[in-house]
């Protein structure tokens, strides 16, 4: 850093373009939305900034609070699931032969090459009543019926008719969608920490008599904490604000706070309320990050995430 400061021209040449970009496309729109939250609608498109707090008061409507609670719950469940699925995946990649690692990582990143909208629609094709999962189940049902028919057991065991599972348009589908879309955000930081893990520590644990499971929980998980924390943040925050996935995969009762915000800006045409909601969401996110930083700070040297 010191040597950079000694060369101000070079320093600014590198910093300025990025700083301008952020100012123009991140800070400025954010400031606009922040202002809008204190505005009043005076016409179909005109908004006056009157510094009213009515929009913020409107956010704390019990209906919205309930939606907010559900969003937190859905995001939490989805994040825990991505962690539970992502950790073994990341571990497997870090132990894979060096030759295969780039290939497996490519497979993990591959879905990013397709637009999230298309990926989510693809999930519909998989989950709907006449989708691939139910086709598969129906095939198994037919096989079972055919096998059991000679014994006259087919109706008793398999039922008279194949009833497709209701996999779509509910909270489970939303959580499934979030896990599917955000899994790479969990796997990649986990892999980055696990790959750097000193293998001799694992050997030492085995040497001292611990089994693989004990080694996993006593050595690997604590040492992978920085990656786990990054992964949780990277998944939880977008999951909390998601509206596309809940819109396409969710039912009438799986509305999330993201959907409500989207509606304020579009269908309801209430930009000030939408802006206030966005900022409340932002403050909650900040609060969570602050708590995490505080916890890491208290633990001293360990929480270097």
């Amino acid at each position: 850093m010191e040597s950079w400061r000694a060369q101000p021209a070079v320093f600014w040449a590198f910093v300025l373009p990025g700083a301008l970009w952020l100012l123009l496309f991140f800070i400025a729109p954010l400031a606009l939305i922040w202002l809008l939250a204190f505005g009043e609608r005076v016409g179909p498109v005109e908004i006056d900034i009157t510094w009213t707090l009515a929009n913020y008061a409107g956010v704390f409507d019990p209906v919205y609070i309930g939606l907010f609670g559900r969003s937190l719950w859905v995001a939490t469940v989805a994040t825990v699931l991505t962690l539970v699925i992502g950790l073994p995946v990341a571990l497997a990649i870090s132990f894979a032969p060096a030759r295969l690692k780039p290939l497996i990582l490519l497979l993990i990143i591959l879905p990013f090459w397709t637009n999230i909208l298309i990926r989510t629609y693809a999930m519909i094709a998989v989950l709907r009543s006449r989708g691939f999962v139910n086709f598969g189940l129906e095939y198994i049902w037919q096989l079972g019926t055919a096998v059991l028919a000679p014994f006259g057991l087919d109706e008793a065991v398999m039922g008279a008719r194949f009833v497709p599972l209701e996999l779509l348009y509910n909270n489970t589908a939303v959580i499934f969608g979030i896990v599917y879309v955000y899994l790479p955000f969990m796997v990649l930081p986990l892999y980055a920490t696990l790959d750097r893990l000193d293998r001799s520590l694992l050997e030492a644990s085995l040497d001292l008599g611990a089994g693989q499971v004990r080694t996993f929980f006593s050595i690997i998980v604590p040492l992978a904490r920085p990656g786990i924390v990054s992964g949780i943040i990277l998944v939880f925050i977008p999951a909390l604000g998601t509206f596309l996935i809940s819109d396409l995969l969710g039912g009438t009762d799986s509305l999330l706070i993201g959907n409500v915000i989207e509606r304020q800006f579009k269908a309801a045409n209430n930009w000030p309320l939408g802006a206030a909601m966005s900022f409340v969401l932002l403050y909650v996110t900040f609060a969570i990050l602050a708590i995490r930083a505080w916890v890491a700070g208290r633990e001293g040297g360990l929480g270097k995430a």
Partner: protein, 367 residues
């Protein structure tokens, strides 16, 4: 199978080879280590010492051959089921645990009664002189202190076999000497077999009951320290353990344990053969076994005399090493104890002198 347990070696390698791709890290090693030995593996970097230890720990599997511990084939026994503990070359101290937690880990994961853990951990920490540091994290310790945590962590398990991969390399000379004595004391007291890898030949000579010298994956010689130093069978061993002066020679005849040889500078002599299979090779003599005379040649009877010129004298406190060039251009070295405190003045480079060698101090070793 009629052997009693006390007679079966604790460790047996049967023609073990370990290849990594094209490199043979360990090449056809057969070896038996007796119970309660303090066994040292000595050899240059990359000769396969760590690989040999890792096969005992269960972290590498022989490409061919068998490894037995206590008479039991270890092929299918995972590391956590072996009564063997290892002090890793890289220490491998758990960074997220305190010193005490590190030491306690191996007891907690096995079925050691909770009440027993505390006292045993304390005892082990005291043993490696880390008392007062039990609550520290590894990043608050020096390299040598971390190494001692690794040692305590293995010792506290009271294994049948303790594997030490250069366990003292990060310690300063004084602490290293203390820990060497401590290890020897521990080994005799607790009666565990120790296998220690080291680069440091003095460490091996001073501590071990037996030493194996390795080169390029093979074991060249296994012997107790004194025999290894005084009776090396191969030129590599002689030059790796201590210093030696070598004279290539022509063997004229073999007479039992002796050989008649002709060597440049030394002429024709009768010398001891290092082993029964040594029929040709090199004559070696240790630097401290050569008599050096700066003034008039005053030969002992039977001594061979070599004339040389002093190149340089290196002073090491207790002794000095005199580097010389002999008549035929061969480089030699002699060592002398500095028995007088008053400096009598070393002769300057270029001073001619005479070296006296007793034929009984010469040994014919294989190449």
């Amino acid at each position: 199978m009629t052997e009693t347990p006390a007679q079966t070696p604790i460790v047996t390698f049967e023609n073990v080879t370990k290849s990594f791709g094209r490199t043979k890290a360990v090449d056809g090693v057969s070896l038996a280590i007796p119970r309660n030995a303090f066994f040292a593996l000595l050899g240059p970097s990359g000769c396969g010492k760590t690989t040999l230890l890792r096969m005992l720990g269960g972290f590498e599997h022989p490409t061919s051959g068998r490894v037995l511990i206590d008479g039991e084939d270890m092929a299918d026994v995972p590391p956590n089921r072996r009564q063997v503990n290892m002090v890793f070359q890289s220490y491998a101290v758990f960074p997220h645990m305190t010193v005490a937690e590190n030491v306690a880990y191996g007891l907690k994961v096995t079925s050691v009664p909770r009440a027993e853990i505390g006292p045993r951990v304390e005892e082990a920490i005291a043993m490696v002189r880390l008392d007062g540091m039990a609550a520290r994290k590894p990043d608050q310790l020096s390299g040598g202190q971390r190494q001692r945590v690794a040692l305590a962590r293995a010792l506290v398990k009271r294994p049948k076999l303790l594997l030490l991969d250069e366990p003292l390399s990060a310690l300063d000379k004084k602490l290293r000497e203390e820990m060497q004595l401590e290890l020897v004391r521990l080994q005799t007291e607790v009666g565990i077999t120790f296998i220690i890898v080291t680069h440091d030949q003095e460490e091996a000579l001073g501590m071990a009951s037996d030493i194996a010298v390795m080169k390029e994956g093979r074991i060249l010689q296994i012997a107790p320290p004194r025999q290894l130093y005084e009776h090396p069978t191969r030129r590599f061993v002689a030059e790796f353990i201590g210093a030696s002066n070598s004279f290539e020679c022509e063997v004229l005849g073999i007479e039992g344990g002796m050989a008649r040889v002709r060597a440049p500078l030394l002429g024709e002599l009768k010398v001891e053969r290092a082993a029964a299979d040594v029929r040709a090779g090199t004559l070696i003599v240790r630097p401290e076994k050569m008599r050096m005379d700066f003034s008039s040649p005053d030969p002992d009877p039977g001594e061979v005399l070599v004339r040389a010129v002093i190149d340089q004298i290196a002073y090491f406190g207790d002794l000095s090493i005199v580097y010389l060039t002999a008549e035929d251009g061969r480089r030699l070295q002699c060592s002398r104890y500095n028995v007088n405190r008053i400096d009598k003045g070393d002769p300057p480079p270029g001073t001619p002198c005479t070296i006296g060698i007793h034929p009984e101090d010469l040994l014919l070793v294989g190449d």
